[in-house]
Symmetry: C2
Subunit: 398 residues, 2 copies
Amino acid sequence: MTDFELTRRQFDLPEGMIYLNGNSLGPMPRESVPAMTRFLKDEWRTELIKGWNTKDWFMQTNTLGDRVGRLIGAPPGTTVVGDTLSIKVFQAVAAGMAMVPDRKVVLSDNGNFPTDLYIVEGLIKLRDAGYELRTPDPEDVMDNITEEVGVVMITEVDYRTGRRHDMKAIIDKAHGVGAVVVWDLAHSAGAVPVDVGGCDTDFAIGCTYKYLNGGPGAPAFIHVAPRLLETVEPFLSGWYGHEAPFAFDINYRPMAGKIERMRIGTPSIASFVLLSTALDIWDRVDMNDLHAKSVELSELLIGEIESRCPALRLVSPRDPQARGSHVSFAFEHGYACMQALIADNVIGDFRAPDVMRFGIAPLFIGRDDILAAVGKLERILKDERWKDERFQKRSLVT
Amino acid sequence: MTDFELTRRQFDLPEGMIYLNGNSLGPMPRESVPAMTRFLKDEWRTELIKGWNTKDWFMQTNTLGDRVGRLIGAPPGTTVVGDTLSIKVFQAVAAGMAMVPDRKVVLSDNGNFPTDLYIVEGLIKLRDAGYELRTPDPEDVMDNITEEVGVVMITEVDYRTGRRHDMKAIIDKAHGVGAVVVWDLAHSAGAVPVDVGGCDTDFAIGCTYKYLNGGPGAPAFIHVAPRLLETVEPFLSGWYGHEAPFAFDINYRPMAGKIERMRIGTPSIASFVLLSTALDIWDRVDMNDLHAKSVELSELLIGEIESRCPALRLVSPRDPQARGSHVSFAFEHGYACMQALIADNVIGDFRAPDVMRFGIAPLFIGRDDILAAVGKLERILKDERWKDERFQKRSLVT
C-alpha cells in the first residue's frame, strides 16, 4: 500500500501554498538539493571525465528509463530517457512512417498538444513526399482509423479537458488496419495507470517534469515495443545510439536490438540527477493506489466546486475512468479568477479560451488541500475579486 | 587583459590533479554549487510554475546564447542554446539542404567527429531523395567544393589531431559556388578565436561541456546568419520556436525573423544554471588573450615532450595557427601510457588507434602544470610503467 503521508513529506513545498499544478511542473523533492550537491562535488568536480565510467553517467538513459517504464507498464529494456518530448515525437513518428512506407496519412486529433502537431508538420515538410496530417475532433479518431492511415499519434489525456482516450481500443483498431501507433503520455505518466506493454503499443513517449517531478525541462522518455527493437530506425542517429559509441566509426550502426538505439546525443547529467531523485519517491508508489487516490480527490474537488462555485462549469468528463488526473472548469472570467486564486496561494493554471485547470497529484495533495482551495475560490467568486485590475494582465507563460 | 590567475581560482579542481582534458569535459566552477542550490531552493522550490515568468527561465535560451555568441563572433540575437549538438547538426544541415533544393550533395570530411556524419546519414535516409554524403580527406575539402555541393558541413578543429580548417577560405569558396555552410565549433568555442559573423557563415553549432565548462551533457548552441533568420526552416519545429508559444495554435508558425525559431522543446533549466555559472567566468575573458596563452602553453608542451619523451611523435600541426587548443601525440602504447599517466593524476585522453590527447585550457592550466605533467610522462616512459597489466584494460568511455 502506497504511503501518501510519507510521499507528501518527501516534497519541499512553500509554506501555505496549495499547489494544484503538478500536471504542469511538479514540485521539488526534499532530496534534490543534497543529491545535486553530491553530484556536483563528488562526481563532476572530483571524477571529471572519468565520471562517465566511474559514476555510470553513460547508462543512466537506461536505468532511469526502466524506472519510468515501470510506471507506464513497459518491460525493462524498452524505455530510455533524454532529449525533449518534441524530439521524441519526431523520432517515434518518423520511425513509424518508415514502417509503413506506402501510407501517407498521419492521424492525430485537434485536441492534441500543439507541439506534437507542429513536430509532425515539420517532419512532413522534410519528407516532402505527399504526407498529410489529419486532425479530426478527438471523438472522431476511431472512425478515422482506416487503411489509408500509416501512423496514429495520440495524446492519451487531453491537456485542457483531461479527457482520456481509450488506449487499447485505438491500438487494436490501428493494428487491425496495419497502422503504427504512437502514444504521448505527457499527461498520463505518473497520473493514471498505463499498460503500454499489455496494450502492445508501438511507441510511447512523454515528459518527466509534470507528474513525475523531474524539475523544469526534465528529460523526455521513449518506449519502443520489444518486437520492433531489431528494426526501428532512429533517424536522429547520434553517437549515443551507436552500436560501438567509442569506436568512432565513420558510419552509423544502430545498437543492435536494443532501446539504446533511440538515444541521440550527450544528455544533461544534471537533469538526470534531479529525475533520479524524483524517481526515488516514485519507486515506492503503486500506480493503482495512486489512481484511486487521484479519483477520490478529483471527485471531492468536483463536488465541492459544483456545490459552492456554481458559476464554474465542469469541462472534464464526469466519469473518473474517462479522465486523467487534472480537472478543468470553464468560467468566462477564468483567467482573472485563476490569477486571483494564485494571488491567494492556490496554484492552478489557465488555458484559453476560458479553462481553469486543477492538477490532482496525490503524492503531495490531500483532502485538506482540496477543501481549503475550494474555500478560497468560493470567496473570490463571492467577492468578485477577479474583477481587480491587477488580475487582468496576461503574463508570458500562462 | 584577461586575468588568468583569477580565472584559475574560479575553478574547483581536485587537489594534485593536472587536468589536460578540458577539451572533452571542462572542470566545475566554484560557484556551481551555490548557484545550483539557489536555483533549486529559490526558483524551482519557491516559484514552481511561476518561475517561467518570474525567473525568466523562458528566455535563457537567448541570453545564454548571446553570451556564447560573443565567444564565437556572433552578433546578439543570432545564437540560442538548447538540445544536444547532434540535434543542432540535424537542424542546420536540414535547413541548409532546403535552401538549395536542387543540390543533392552534402560535403564533409572523414576526419569529422563521427556523430556529425551519423546525423547526416539519418537525415539523408529520412529525405529519401537521392542525397549523398561525401567525406574526402580533410585536406581535400577545398577541391571538393563544387557546384554539385548543397551543404558543406565541417568541424573546424579535428577532435583527434587538433588540425584546424581555414574557415574563411572554405566559406568563401562554398558561397562562391552557391553552397550553404555549417560549422561545427565543438572544439573551437572557448578554444580559438572564431568570427562567425565576420566570416558570414550560414550556420554554426557547438557544445558547451568542453572548453566552456558547462558540465556533463551541457546544452548545445546554434548560430544562424542574420540574413537567414526570416526564412530558415527549423524542421524540428517544437512549441518553443513558435511565433506565439502560449497561444496553443494548432498550426506551426516559426517565430518571425528571430533566432527563437531554432528552439524546439522545453529545455533543462538546471543545465542552463550550470552553463550560466560557467559563462560568468567567460564573460571576462578576451578570446585573443586566451588564444595567445593557449599557444604559449601548447608550444611549451610540444617542446618539453619532444625533448624529454622522444618515443612520442607529434600528430598535431606544428604551426600554432593551424591548431585548436589541444595537442596530440602518437605512441604505439598510447592507450596504456595514458592510463599510467591518469593513474599519476595527469588527466589527458586517448583516441584510437594510437593518439594521446592533451587539452590546453588556459582558464585553469598554467606553465607549472605543463612542466609537471611532462615530468610525470617522462618518468612513466623511462620506467616503462605503461607495461603494467592494470593499464591495458579498456574502459567503456575512452
